[in-house]
């Protein structure tokens, strides 16, 4: 959906995705390593523009570009979507892809949680990660999320069906996770010359 949420972190920021970011989507998702555990998409700019046109009309879907604050260069994508009002109000976060060599991973997760809990007032967010995507499964574990279970055959990529680990973060656990992610994000921010922002 169209939204105007912009959120600054230490070194990185989230901004609403624009139609002109279709090429960015294609570029990031064309990396076979980075995109191997994401849904396959039509890798043409026209198809992604059409996708974004449909996205703008879809309520409860917030899609962002992860930007370097110093250079305003896009370094990734992230989103929170499938919002259910509740109570408890819930949403999934994902579409997470960060360009190789970027340090934006940790802070982009911190920022999407701040959107979810701080700005959207959600009670719970969850992430579903293909079991074989061990780096991301481990990231959620390391962040302090709880594993809710495994969804059998939840994702289909090409002709293959994959199980997904579902991690959940509730509002009550959010302060602890926020502190964990913020500590690392601040270290990166200091190194990139952006430590004193917040």
């Amino acid at each position: 959906m169209r939204h105007d949420i912009r959120l600054d972190g230490y070194a990185f920021a989230l901004r609403p995705i624009e139609r002109s970011d279709a090429a960015l989507i294609v570029g990031l998702r064309s990396d076979p390593v980075r995109a191997r555990y994401l849904h396959q998409i039509d890798l043409s700019i026209a198809a992604q523009e059409a996708y974004l046109d449909r996205y703008y009309g879809r309520p409860g879907d917030y899609y962002f570009v992860v930007e370097n604050r110093a250079t305003h260069t896009p370094e990734g994508l992230i989103g929170v979507y499938d919002i259910v009002p509740g109570p408890p109000s819930t949403a999934e976060w994902g579409r997470w892809i960060i360009q190789p060599g970027s340090l934006a991973g940790v802070e982009s997760a911190l920022l999407i949680y701040r959107v979810a809990f701080g700005l959207l007032g959600l009670d719970e967010v969850y992430a579903r990660t293909i079991v074989e995507n061990t780096a991301v499964v481990s990231f959620h574990d390391s962040s302090g999320l709880e594993r809710r279970g495994v969804l059998k055959g939840h994702v289909r990529i090409g002709d293959q069906q994959f199980d997904c680990v579902e991690h959940v973060l509730t509002r009550s656990r959010w302060p602890e996770v926020e502190a964990n992610l913020a500590r690392r994000s601040e270290l990166i921010g200091r190194r990139l010359g952006r430590g004193a922002i917040r």
Partner: protein
Amino acid sequence: MEHDAVDQAVREIVSSVLDRPIDPAEEIVRDTEPKWDSLKHIELMFALEERFEIQFTQEELAGLDRISAVVDRVMVYLAS
């Protein structure tokens, strides 16, 4: 500091951060190590900097992705 001492110290730090034993000759590569996620990576890089009193470049912070490469870079810093 000699190469073997650096190698051992790096392995101790990697072992501590990844919370698993590491054999003396074992190569650990980020892409194939399930626990080497981006959060642990940051923790690891800053722990190495503190231990050796060095400062990696931004590219190194993001790109050092295996024990042997870490040891090589640390050796370069310690020699300079």
